[in-house]
Symmetry: C2
Subunit: 197 residues, 2 copies
Amino acid sequence: MSEPLSDSALDQLFRTARTYNGYSDEPVSTEQLHAIWDLVKFGPTSANSLPARIVWCVSDEAKAKLAALALPANAEKILKAPVTAIIASDNEFYENLPELFPHADARSWFVGNEALAHTTAFRNSTLQGGYFILAARALGLDTGPMSGFNNAGVDEAFFADQPSVKSNFISTLGYGDPATIFERSPRPDFARFNSIA
Amino acid sequence: MSEPLSDSALDQLFRTARTYNGYSDEPVSTEQLHAIWDLVKFGPTSANSLPARIVWCVSDEAKAKLAALALPANAEKILKAPVTAIIASDNEFYENLPELFPHADARSWFVGNEALAHTTAFRNSTLQGGYFILAARALGLDTGPMSGFNNAGVDEAFFADQPSVKSNFISTLGYGDPATIFERSPRPDFARFNSIA
């Protein structure tokens, strides 16, 4: 049985962590991107489907291409951040299931059922996006997740050769600059959005 | 700037954490459910929309009602687990935005745009589901997330009085019994599902 993590760990992951609009000049290394994936990959997905496909935009060219497809306020964040990750979703993730989920013929659950495949891909790539946010925080980094961009444009610009892959959301990544955040928005108590049955 | 969490914390959150099929007899208290929410609520959602609605099934009656709507293998897990959480999504989350996101008229972005509201609700309630899994682990608990159940039936059984609320996924919760898990499925290296641009 595990014990709760320390208060400082819970703060870093959840309570004092924030969504950043800007970052310090401290770079983020390729090794850190690998380290994030090496945590994210262990998060649970349905039938170990791992549908997320991540493009880590680190070059000026990639950032400019992505920024041109984002809302103006988000474009500025993308251009200035050390990294922006595009979290995308492979709607044909099931082709990997014979390898990723060897216990059962899970591929057959999805082939020919496009609605189920799309829902599963969207739900599980989003879960992996949540793991990405918390993995980055666990490694001392900060994120700025955003959905204000042209999804179809990003798909065309980054995934033209992979028609089954669709962008889900994007997130800046770096060491957050506290000067770029505002007061935290309200967080309701348990009774507001939870019930016990 | 934060430091990376300890190796043991990274193990507990990601690397040695597992999806459990069964749990010890150790109970989960109402205070623990509140403690999970008090971490989950801080995870980022688009415009602080917080669309997740969680029903924590702790009574035999609620577990039986939910189990009757799940695949047989999942029904057994629900009946035996100390708690099963239904993570649902409020498609009319935007009615709370004047309170939750006071900086802008975010409600107007969604009213009358049902497709955007549904996508935003599904994406962000799923992110909150990811935070739920990792918050439970951070507090020393284990989870067993599942999507093999009758969503429409669960909506009718648990949310009949809230037609804008739709079930997303469910998860058992407790202190995992290592005897109930199998060998971990493969987790591919960075190069398989990631690229650097």
